[in-house]
């Protein structure tokens, strides 16, 4: 096939960086590029995997694509697309769709789709309620997993109860249950997701046709729900701030104070302090089970694991309460605004036929969209936290027995390697002999850590392989916003203003201010009132800091990302999905954020 147009590298020409070959081989063989992959199109999933992946964390990609594919290909039978394949090179996850072009297959899949997916739409509320029940049961199961123990003797009560299985067997079944629950979570995750996005896309496409100059964010605002669980964590922080004032312990929350010091001080301040701590506990379970990323990296810890995020927000809220300002989320006002938008745009349509079609589409979109907003709290946050923390327990056990020094090192082993180590440990426990293979993983772990550092510094091609004429995969268009136009802009690296960074217009408004490049939660406290937050991912768990900032800019996220939704709620300009804001914008620089156009301009370097 002759190709004269500019293209991307072939996957076969991309090798592991020198010195990282062994680390690259630690990823499963079925996730390595191989024969046949050159003829396909692959793009770097920077939205979900913006950093090189630790070997263990690859399970997040594997779990997701196992379930996404099954759902599209075999469960709902999406007519034009099957699943999404993934490959890993230099720690980066590339993905590619599997399209359907054969007319006969297309017809068959269409008829299947209308029996399967349509049933979901028709019974959405009942099935979604059922879904919540399944997720809660799954979470309860994960919470009920036993602690990991290899005691000197099996507890006497187990013996007297005639249990018949010993601790090393429980260790293995707990491991298997941990993995099983995680993979199951991903299947639940995708049960409704594409269908939810699809209904939204139908409405989105219609609006773009009827109102060619409407912004994405306006369409998003028409469909946004307000009861989604993902707003709850921030609401809990507001509640705790109010309680602090009510109980008269608000002076304990000084700006920039250490969380441990605040907790200790509250502990010692009599009944009001204890009452507040009890309120904190009530909020934490489950609402602080939100991680500061998007659920794909073990080191994006949750609020529960690191209280600095919610605590960073409390002083600001307290100050507002003292000043007599309302910190309540103006739900009624937001709902009224949404109604006004829906009716206002309806009035501007050209004919009654258009209005009738509009009514059908928005009714469907509003009905199904709460899932798209709501599922993340259960899946990417709550369940994922439980999962990674359980893996940490396995890490602690293996570290305790000498397989490595730091329990976090467990994330540099694949799940197969961990299982081998657990089996080896179980065997040695059962035989009463010392554990074997203690040196086995140490050098690999060191090698893999070094490789991650090398990969993090490397340029990552946004895509690999043959460029398709068009992208007609609804999953790819919906979830990643990738179109033929996106590819052209990737290929055309030409005359760009070096001081201009483009992204998705997430929330409108123009603001100039000081850029505060925040790379981790630990740096949250550096944010001053009126700063512009520049970070890798904004997500709803960052919501509490939105009261402090003037605008938000992120590397990752689309105009439907939860970050965008929260920014719109706070009425702050936001540009998301820039790909490079945290690397291009120097900390302290003066920047302008134009949230309606999706442009960030560096006005003055720091």
């Amino acid at each position: 096939m002759a190709q004269t147009a500019p293209g991307f590298s072939r996957p076969s020409s991309v090798r592991a960086a020198p010195g990282t070959e062994a680390a690259q081989q630690a990823y499963p063989w079925y996730a390595q590029f191989g024969p046949g992959d050159d003829e396909r199109f692959w793009f770097y999933n920077s939205m979900h995997f913006p950093e090189p992946m630790c070997v263990f964390d690859m399970i997040t990609a594997e779990g997701a694509y196992l379930a996404l594919g099954a759902c599209n290909t075999r469960v709902h039978s999406l007519p034009t697309t099957k699943g999404i394949d993934f490959r890993v090179i230099n720690g980066r996850v590339y993905i590619g769709g599997v399209g359907v072009t054969d007319p006969e297959e297309l017809a068959l899949r269409t008829s299947e789709f209308q029996q399967r997916a349509f049933y979901y739409y028709e019974n959405w509320e009942r099935l979604y309620d059922q879904w919540k029940g399944k997720m809660r049961a799954l979470i309860a199961d994960a919470q009920a997993l036993p602690k990991l123990e290899l005691p000197e003797f099996e507890p006497l009560e187990n013996v007297h109860a005639g249990k018949g299985v010993a601790a090393n067997h429980r260790l293995l079944t707990t491991w298997q249950a941990t993995l099983e629950g995680y993979y199951r979570m991903w299947h639940h995750h995708f049960e409704f997701l594409l269908l939810g996005y699809g209904a939204y896309m139908v409405f989105f496409d219609f609006c773009k046709k009827a109102f060619p100059e409407i912004t994405d964010q306006t369409i998003a605002r028409m469909v946004a729900g307000f009861e989604a669980e993902i707003f709850r964590p921030d609401e809990e922080v507001r509640r705790l701030s109010r309680r602090a004032v009510d109980l008269g312990v608000d002076h304990k929350f000084a700006e920039g104070a250490d969380v441990a010091d605040i907790l200790a001080s509250l502990e010692q301040s009599g009944q009001p302090g204890k009452d507040w701590l009890a309120e904190l506990e009530a909020s934490r379970n489950p609402w602080f089970n939100v991680n500061v990323g998007d659920g794909f990296y073990h080191y994006h810890r949750s609020w529960n694991d690191d209280l600095s995020m919610p605590f960073a927000a409390i002083p600001g809220y307290i100050e507002k309460i003292r000043a007599g300002e309302s910190i309540d989320r103006p739900t009624e006002q937001l709902m009224a605004e949404r109604v006004e938008l829906i009716e206002g745009y309806r009035d501007m349509l050209g004919s009654d036929a258009e209005r009738a079609a509009y009514d059908q589409m928005i009714e469907l979109a509003c009905r199904v969209f709460p899932y798209v907003e709501g599922h993340k709290f259960y899946c990417e946050h709550w369940y994922t936290n439980l999962f990674f923390n359980k893996i940490r327990e396995f890490g602690a056990l293996l570290a305790e027995h000498g397989y490595f020094d730091d329990s976090e090192d467990v994330f540099h082993l694949s799940r197969f390697e961990i299982e081998q180590a657990l089996l080896a440990l179980s065997l040695s426990w059962s035989t009463g002999s010392p554990p074997r293979g203690l040196e086995r993983f140490r050098s690999s772990i060191a090698e893999r850590k070094a490789a991650l550092a090398v990969w993090a510094e490397m340029e990552t091609s946004p895509a690999l392989g043959d460029v398709p004429d068009m992208i007609d995969d609804p999953a790819i268009v919906m979830l990643w916003g990738i179109t033929r136009e996106t590819l052209n802009s990737w290929l055309d690296d030409g005359e760009e203003n070096p001081n201009e960074i483009k992204g998705f217009a997430a929330s409108s408004g123009v603001v100039e201010g000081t850029a505060r490049v925040v790379r981790s939660v630990q740096e949250i406290a550096r944010l001053q009132q009126g700063d512009i937050l520049v970070c890798q991912v904004t997500n709803p768990t960052w919501a509490p800091v939105f009261q402090k900032i003037a605008a938000a800019v992120s590397d990752i996220g689309g105009s439907m990302s939860h970050a965008a939704i929260v920014a719109r709620e706070y009425g702050l300009p936001a540009v998301v999905g820039t790909g490079k804001a945290t690397t291009r914008i120097p900390d302290g620089a003066r920047i302008r954020v134009d949230g309606a156009r999706g442009v960030v301009t560096i006005l003055e370097a720091a």
Partner: protein, 346 residues
């Protein structure tokens, strides 16, 4: 009520046969409570009285009606004579007195006004009638006003206008023109706005164009204006194109206008603040709502006071004339819409 003069507050669109499109629109806006520079219209009756008087002295319309449009020499000769008569011969005394009195009431002895022709027929809005669209800016004193009213009337007898009318066989007895006299806005900036996108026909946005100084520079295309697109309903501003506005039109001390260089620091500065953009949006929405259909609007912001004033509003014609297919038809089963996304490209 005087048959010569009509004040904006007393007229509306239904008076167009006597006050012209521009006059009717300014009256309509005034009536709707939308700020326009105050003024009056010299009604078509005044023109007719004048021409009747001229005709009585020596035939004026008959020689015009007798012209062969292909005989350019003759057209030039006859129209030049007619124009000279309109510019020079005495006005009927009651017409002259009514205009003088109205000017004094509006502008005292020397407040600057704009004198603008106001055509009475729909097709007079056409480019072919371009001669009718004369506007005289920064006119000072009753003498000058009377002179420019005559100039507007005389423009009806430009070579182009007459040739066009003769080709159409338009009866000369039906030719008439009203003239608008209104307080001149010393504009800090001015421009146009469209309540329906001129580029895509989108009814949900307002496109605003503006530049420094008087709006004439924008309308005539002498300067590339700043351009904004604003969502009608939410006020978001997804497009801001700020251009290099090298010149602006400003008043001359003794009357009239001229071009001047824009100071360096203002050239690339947006000529409207965000607050002003939102105020214009509000005015545009009110105007559109009043008329019940998309409008093309001329606006100005007054130096010093910052007041927003409309100079003109007329119905959008380009997109309204197009028959566009609906974005979608309702489906028997609403779920079938999903096939637009899941069913692949048709």
């Amino acid at each position: 009520m005087s048959t010569t003069i009509a004040w904006f507050a007393d007229i509306g669109l239904e008076d167009r046969p006597a006050v012209g499109g521009k006059g009717g629109s300014l009256g309509e806006l005034t009536r709707a409570g939308i700020a326009v520079p105050p003024g009056f219209v010299v009604r078509t009756e005044a023109f007719e009285a004048f021409v009747r008087a001229l005709d009585a002295a020596e035939p004026l319309r008959a020689p015009i009606e007798a012209l062969d449009p292909s005989d350019l020499d003759q057209v030039s000769k006859v129209t030049a004579t007619v124009r000279a008569r309109i510019e020079a011969e005495p006005l009927p005394i009651e017409v002259e007195q009514a205009i003088r009195a109205a000017y004094a009431e509006l502008a005292g002895s020397d407040r600057p006004v704009a004198v603008r022709s106001s055509a009475t027929t729909e097709d007079a809005e056409d480019a072919s009638f371009a001669g009718l669209q004369d506007t005289y800016l920064w006119v000072i004193g009753a003498e000058q006003v009377l002179q420019q009213v005559r100039s507007c009337w005389a423009s009806l007898y430009s070579v182009e206008s007459v040739t066009y009318r003769r080709r159409q066989n338009f009866p000369e007895a039906k030719v008439a023109m009203a003239v608008v006299v209104q307080i001149m806005v010393d504009a800090r900036c001015a421009g146009v706005m469209f309540t329906r996108s001129p580029t895509t026909g989108d009814r949900s946005v307002i496109t605003i164009e503006g530049a420094w100084g008087l709006g004439s520079a924008v309308v005539s295309g002498e300067v590339t204006p700043d351009r904004w697109v604003i969502a009608k309903l939410t006020g978001e501003v997804p497009v801001r194109d700020i251009s290099d506005k090298h010149i602006r039109q400003v008043p001359l001390p003794g009357g009239g206008i001229h071009d001047e260089d824009v100071p360096e620091d203002l050239r690339k500065t947006p000529c409207l603040s965000d607050t002003e953009l939102q105020e214009l949006r509000a005015v545009a929405r009110r105007t559109e709502k009043h008329y019940g259909r998309p409008q093309d609007i001329e606006w100005a912001i007054e130096n010093g006071t910052g007041a927003i004033l409309l100079l003109q509003s007329r119905p959008e014609t380009v997109w309204s004339a197009k028959e566009s297919a609906p974005a979608a038809q309702p489906a028997e089963n609403p779920l079938l819409h999903l096939m637009n996304v899941f069913g692949g490209r048709k």
